[in-house]
């Protein structure tokens, strides 16, 4: 029994790296068109998954399942889906699970479509300098919420899988680049897999007609295009080609970004076939129930800020920049982080039930005299305004100078915050900001997360 698609959202980071600048840095010649997306220095798969999941809206508070898919999990052993869960406002009895590998994006979608709940797909693609994986890769996230509801966006008609044990792409633990099978061999195998999966899904779902739209996610750009064409759907190239040109292949999140774009452009009654090609092929067939783009859906695309190749390598940790002469950051202390989870992950302060004053972070004792008379008060979804701000060339930052601002949340008090996805020129008193969950720093390779402010509407959602 499958569930219906109730909401979807994507997250694309603010930064872009043009392919010309990569080639210029490595060869002296600015060859290549388009750009890839680049996660900020304070972003990772977890933070981007949180951004996409939160963009789904409040309905996810009722979701019973969360599947987090990435090939770039910041921690092993520990389930990072628990961080996404804590930072996304989901209820305290939900089942949260990590999935990994390039096929995990499809896996999360399939699992959520069957059990209901949220599929959060997020990834960063890196590769050896100058490799196709680096140049044609991208960073981003997509989230889908499945459940029962009368106002659904789409229904799932079926899914199918053709698993093949094939060395098409693999990566050993601790390395930042994939090893790839020979192009023609991989193309040969995956073409066969896609053909079989299309047949199989027709059989299983009873829908053998060619879908209105098809999208194929696979590592190799040219192969993705030819596999899509082989399905024969009229529509899809106009989604897939710009995605590969302006975003890039986003690993486990890629199929989610393609599906979201297909849904944006769909009309009621359309069918969409989303295929993940790699290790065989997996496919999901949906029928759209109403015309897109959908209310509460995605914001208009804005061009991101371009960065240089050396900056990109620095942000990904490939170039070790001289740090500021500042003390080491405090190690992450598990007990305080656990006790203060509502604040650290949910950005929930407290509001005094007696006088209404809001404290950020929460306070047990109110200036009015009340003790333990509070309710949680989150400002994670609030728009704030900059009261006053400054550049900070003293604090250590991978993108100096750091920026800090005193943010006013209206009647709810103020907070001193770091600003991200912004340059000093973006700073103006009175500017509107939104909150964003970030990987603020690492201590001994252990990531620390908290919230920052960024100019409102920084990137498409």
């Amino acid at each position: 029994m499958t569930k219906k698609l109730l909401a979807y959202a994507t997250y694309q980071p603010h930064y872009r790296l043009t392919r010309g600048s990569i080639n210029a840095a490595l060869t002296g010649t600015s060859r290549g068109s388009g750009a890839r997306t680049v996660a900020g220095y304070d972003e990772d798969a977890v933070s981007m998954a949180v951004a996409a999941t939160r963009a789904l809206g409040g309905g996810t508070g009722e979701a019973d399942h969360l599947y987090f898919a990435t090939t770039n999990s910041p921690l092993l052993d520990k389930s990072c889906s628990l961080i996404v869960h804590a930072a996304s406002g989901m209820h305290g009895r939900a089942f949260a699970l990590d999935l990994t590998g390039l096929r995990s994006g499809f896996g999360a979608l399939k699992a959520a479509s069957e059990s209901g709940g949220v599929a959060a797909l997020a990834d960063l693609r890196t590769g050896r300098p100058g490799s196709a994986e680096e140049i044609d890769g991208g960073d981003g996230a997509a989230a889908f919420f499945f459940g029962d509801g009368d106002d659904a966006i789409a229904e799932v008609l079926g899914s199918a899988s053709v698993p093949m044990e094939v060395m098409d792409a693999w990566r050993t633990p601790g390395t930042s680049y994939a090893l790839i099978g020979e192009d023609r061999f991989v193309g040969h195998v995956l073409a066969q897999a896609v053909q079989e999966v299309v047949t199989e899904i027709g059989k299983r779902s009873g829908h053998t007609e060619t879908p209105t739209t098809s999208v194929v996610s696979t590592l190799n750009r040219r192969l993705a295009s030819s596999l899509r064409e082989s399905i024969g759907a009229e529509s899809g190239a106009e989604i897939q080609d710009p995605h590969r040109e302006n975003t890039g292949y986003c690993g486990a999140a890629d199929i989610g970004l393609l599906l979201a774009s297909a849904l944006d452009a769909a009309k009621a009654g359309d069918t969409i076939l989303a295929v993940s090609a790699g290790g065989g092929a997996d496919a999901l067939l949906l029928r759209v129930l109403k015309d897109g783009p959908f209310a509460g859906g995605r914001r208009p695309h804005r061009a991101g800020q371009e960065i240089g190749y050396h900056q990109y390598l620095t942000w990904r940790g490939e170039i070790g920049r001289e740090p500021a002469r500042r003390p080491d950051r405090p190690s992450v202390a598990p007990p305080p982080a656990f006790r203060n989870s509502g604040w650290k992950f949910g950005l929930a302060g407290s509001q005094c039930l007696e006088c209404g004053k809001v404290y950020l972070p929460p306070a047990r004792v109110c200036a009015c005299g009340a003790v333990d008379r509070t309710r949680p008060f989150s400002v994670a979804d609030r728009t704030g305004t900059v009261v006053t701000q400054t550049t900070d060339g003293v604090s250590d930052s991978p993108a100096p100078p750091a920026l800090a601002a005193l943010i006013d949340f209206g009647a709810t008090g103020r907070l001193m915050l770091e600003l991200t996805d912004a340059s000093p020129a973006d700073l103006a008193d009175g500017a509107e900001i939104e909150m964003t969950f970030r990987r603020t720093y690492d201590v001994g390779d252990v990531p620390n997360y908290f919230w920052k402010a960024r100019p409102k509407d920084r990137s498409p959602q």
Partner: protein, 394 residues
């Protein structure tokens, strides 16, 4: 509710080291120098005459033991830590103990060895926490002040900048008259200050206090006993310490154009000292010029200037050495740097010199009442101390 400290205790001896990058001296060396100089400044006083010690340091030692060990004393020693106001608070608690009659002679001594860390600026090791503290350096936190001040009072940013430059210039010029002790004892031309590269917002290093090592100490006795020790005691006229609830930045209003903790603290100290018009009644003030915009705002919060007028009074030279109310005649934190545990006592040391007529090239004409303002924290969450001293009993 409270009883006044006016004329209840006196300082009868002080010591103060040179402040600076003192690579050849340890925290113990500095402590020994300041403490023994303070004792030696009181004719006939011996180490064993000091009944109890209040020892302030933020990061150069733990507990009272470093003092007992360095000075080889067997006495009550209390370590005091209250951010950048630690030195003042050591003095405050020693004063209370003497005023209470528990001890006849107490010493407050502050020391900080900052430079050994190798870090830029002042840093603090925080206890294990949830790692949600916003990473904002001290210069950046204070760099938010000038724009907030401009906006709150409709003052053109260029006028604020010119006033900040004047503060930096003047405090350095005062420090140039203090070569025995100041970290920086040279005049810095205004043009150089204006052109210096910015490190945070509109602040350059010339808008920031230096970073230095140093120590200072005071010998405290009951006011009625003061003349048994010296012919020229200085008397505590009033003091106040105030810790804010740390939601100053969280409260709407003129946040970042005023420090509410300082306003409260000053009001309490003035009431203690019977001061109704600080601008007229005070001869001088040592204030916490950790950054130039801090000093600008303090001129209003301490009641020296009307709201929105401090920039003008600064530019008019009112707070210069030859102005109507000399501010930071010794050169302030700008010239001395800020060895955190020592700074509060270093401020009192300048009052000690000035009120006794021993300030040499900086000497003010017959000062009678002076103020020391010392504070710690960041805009929105301050500890503030104000002490007022005079050279006569009222």
């Amino acid at each position: 509710m409270t009883s006044s400290m006016r004329d209840r205790i006196a300082i009868v001896g002080m010591g103060c080291t040179r402040f600076g990058e003192l690579w050849d001296k340890s925290a113990d060396d500095l402590l020994i120098e300041a403490a023994l100089d303070a004792i030696a400044s009181v004719p006939g006083l011996r180490k064993n005459d000091v009944d109890a010690y209040w020892y302030s340091t933020v990061a150069s030692g733990h507990a009272g033991l470093p003092l007992a060990k360095a000075l080889k004393v067997e006495r009550p020693v209390t370590r005091v830590e209250n951010f950048c106001a630690s030195g003042s608070d050591a003095f405050r608690n020693a004063a209370f103990a003497v005023a209470a009659g528990v001890y006849d002679v107490a010493m407050a001594v502050g020391v900080e060895k900052i430079k050994d860390s190798g870090y830029s600026g002042l840093t603090l090791n925080a206890p294990p926490g949830d790692n949600t503290a916003t990473e904002v350096s001290n210069p950046a936190a204070y760099a938010m002040l000038p724009a907030a001040y401009s906006r709150a009072y409709g003052v053109h940013p260029d006028d604020v900048r010119t006033a900040l430059t004047h503060i930096a210039w003047r405090n350095h010029a005062n420090g140039a008259r203090n070569p025995e002790r100041a970290q920086y004892a040279s005049i810095v031309p205004k043009e150089k200050i204006e052109k210096a590269p910015r490190i945070a917002g509109d602040l350059s290093v010339f808008d920031c206090s230096g970073v230095s090592d140093g120590a200072a100490a005071a010998i405290i006795v009951r006011a009625e006993d003061a003349h048994h020790y010296t012919d020229k005691p200085i008397y505590l006229k009033g003091m106040s310490l105030y810790a804010g609830m740390s939601d100053g930045a969280a409260t709407a209003g003129v946040a970042h154009a005023s420090f509410p903790e300082v306003v409260q603290c000053a009001a309490s100290a003035y009431a203690d000292a019977g001061i109704t018009n600080p601008r007229e009644q005070l001869s001088m003030a040592e204030v916490h010029d950790c950054f130039t915009p801090t000093e600008l705002i303090l001129m209003e919060d301490l009641g020296f200037s009307e709201r929105g007028r401090a920039w003008r009074d600064v530019l008019d030279g009112d707070f210069d050495l030859d102005g109507t109310l000399a501010v930071n005649p010794d050169g302030g934190l700008k010239s001395f740097g800020h060895p955190v545990g020592a700074s509060g006592l270093r401020m009192i040391f300048e009052l000690w010199l000035q009120l006794r007529g021993e300030a040499g090239r900086r000497q003010l004409a017959s000062p009678r009442l002076g103020l020391a303002h010392n504070m710690g924290g960041l805009p929105g969450e301050f500890i503030s101390f104000v002490g007022i001293f005079g050279n006569e009993l009222s």
